[in-house]
Symmetry: C2
């Protein structure tokens, strides 16, 4: 029995390429006292993983060269030397891009998934992705009844849920920005967005002026770059911008200039705020209760995009930046 | 008796030039019923006036071509047909760049200055400039004990007061960014800032890393541009950026790109917020009471830079952008 792990071989310049990662094969780790061996079943593929590949300061340290690529995942306990994890338990945590990982009882490094919950849900709407949408829209954005809300990356794992939460919380209008006619159709027809802008075909600034003539009260930003700029230009009085991510810049070799329309934050008395969902870990349970209810009522729908095979993880990451996915990208081992 | 008024002759491209304005001479306006004639004594020269000269949407409409340049000022009532304004009263309001203006009782277009207050104070620390520092630092920035605070435009009318308010409110460290050794010496030695960075001589990013090694909790931005970018790069966890003005861009013919380091707002869970002091008009009295006390105790010091003669007003405006002033620029008629 061997453990394949995908390690960072060189720092990418732009998108992840063949030479960015390599597969090392080693022995399956032996669980010591207080440890359990976990066989990884699903990897969560998230844009933030790309930022960890750069040698730049961030909210977590960069992945070192030669280190297994960091990432969340779901696994199954296959052997155990501790009481916390029993053989057969499904667990979630930072598995990394590999076949096997050790769970540590003392550090509670993995969390046991309650029975009856579909493992991919734990990595999507009930996991970090959905929690990001929840706390970003409700706590940071303060979405309120009557708001005109715009969400970018709207067919992505977080954006698609963020827009639906805005609707649930009484937003008057929810506009999504996505990158294909199919994605635009999905968020309007399936998810109940009021309108969609295809940023690859339409002029975003013009579309927003026409769709949000009174201005944008709340912009939930997953992409940064020119779309952020267009939304700032159309901000309503006391408009809020929630900075959740900036996928448009993660593959840039040098950081591109920021939005020209920042000055509009003064004219419109606007606010722009960044956040990380890691700061809300202790409030996940309350959000998960809401989310389970909304899923059951059909008020939140979601999509998963499953890629097969550990060795496909690097290409799965690129999907997030080429727009090749609708909904949450996961790798199934 | 004639009334000279400086009108906008053409929209400036960059700094105000000879051809931007012209002096028209007309009759002194006749006060009708409910009106008073005010002889203008001081003009308040503020960076925002430059933004009104552009044909661009803003928080107030652009000044029209041929229209008298808009601006605040202090005047003296020289004749009156109403009870609100008595001959000899000093009044403050939007006088415009001219010798005489009518005050309108019904609209309460000008406010009577209580006796005993030096007129220039009403245009500086007790007026819009000081109120901007007060509400920007306290209400928008939420300055708190122990904060490391950075202020740009720190030798200007607003920045110099903002830094002193931060100190009064318990900031642990107050760093000012200004444009000459003399200004830097003034804010440190006279105003009690802990340190100063001369942005024309020093690398701001390097200086801030060295002066604020734990990061900037609160950055009060008067300038925008590269200095805003350098401060975003050095933001502390949960740092706040107060956008008060952006004098570095007001003379640009096209809006320059924004700060590259906006992404740091996510990493540091930071907040950037714009404001206009006009939204705080009803709270001016409470702030003025604080400010009068601080002036009396010597805890707030200020400087005025007085330029003589109405015809000098356009050049006085340029001083704000060339850095030719320390403290509040006014024109004395």
């Amino acid at each position: 029995m061997t453990n394949r792990h995908i390690v960072l071989a060189e720092r990418p310049s732009g998108m992840v390429e063949e030479s960015t990662t390599r597969i090392d094969v080693g022995p399956v780790p032996e669980p010591g006292p207080g440890e359990a061996l976990v066989g990884v079943r699903y990897l969560s593929i998230d844009p933030t993983i790309r930022t960890w590949m750069d040698d730049a300061p961030g909210y977590l340290p960069p992945i070192e060269l030669g280190e297994t690529v960091r990432g969340a995942g779901v696994g199954e306990v296959v052997s155990s030397n501790c009481g916390r994890y029993a053989v057969g338990d499904l667990v979630v945590g930072f598995t990394g891009w590999q076949d096997y990982v050790l769970a540590d009882e003392g550090a509670a490094s993995m969390q046991v998934i309650p029975p009856g919950i579909d493992p991919p849900l734990v990595l999507s709407v009930l996991g970090v992705t959905g929690m990001t949408a929840y706390f970003g829209m409700i706590d940071v954005g303060g979405v309120a009844e009557g708001d005109t809300v715009v969400v970018s990356g709207a067919a992505g794992a977080t954006g698609s849920v963020a827009g639906q939460i805005a609707r649930i919380k009484g937003a008057d209008k929810v506009v999504g920005i996505a990158g294909s006619p199919e994605k635009c159709a999905w968020i309007v027809e399936e998810l109940g967005f009021d309108a969609a802008v295809n940023y690859k075909a339409d002029d975003v600034a013009t579309s927003l002026r026409s769709l949000c003539p009174e201005g944008i009260d709340l912009y939930y930003d997953n992409v940064g770059g020119p779309i952020l700029d267009a939304c700032l230009a159309q901000l309503a009085m006391r408009g809020r911008v929630v900075l959740c991510g900036a996928i448009s810049i993660y593959n840039e070799t040098s950081r591109p200039p920021g939005p020209r329309n920042i000055f509009n934050l003064i004219v419109k008395r606007g606010r722009m705020e960044g956040f990380l969902v890691l700061d809300y870990l202790d409030r996940f349970p309350e959000a998960q209760i809401d989310m389970v209810g909304w899923l059951a009522e059909g008020r939140v729908k979601h999509a998963v995009h499953i890629v097969d095979g550990l060795e496909q993880a690097p290409q799965a990451l690129n999907l997030l930046f080429t727009g090749g996915n609708t909904g949450k990208v996961m790798v199934k081992l």
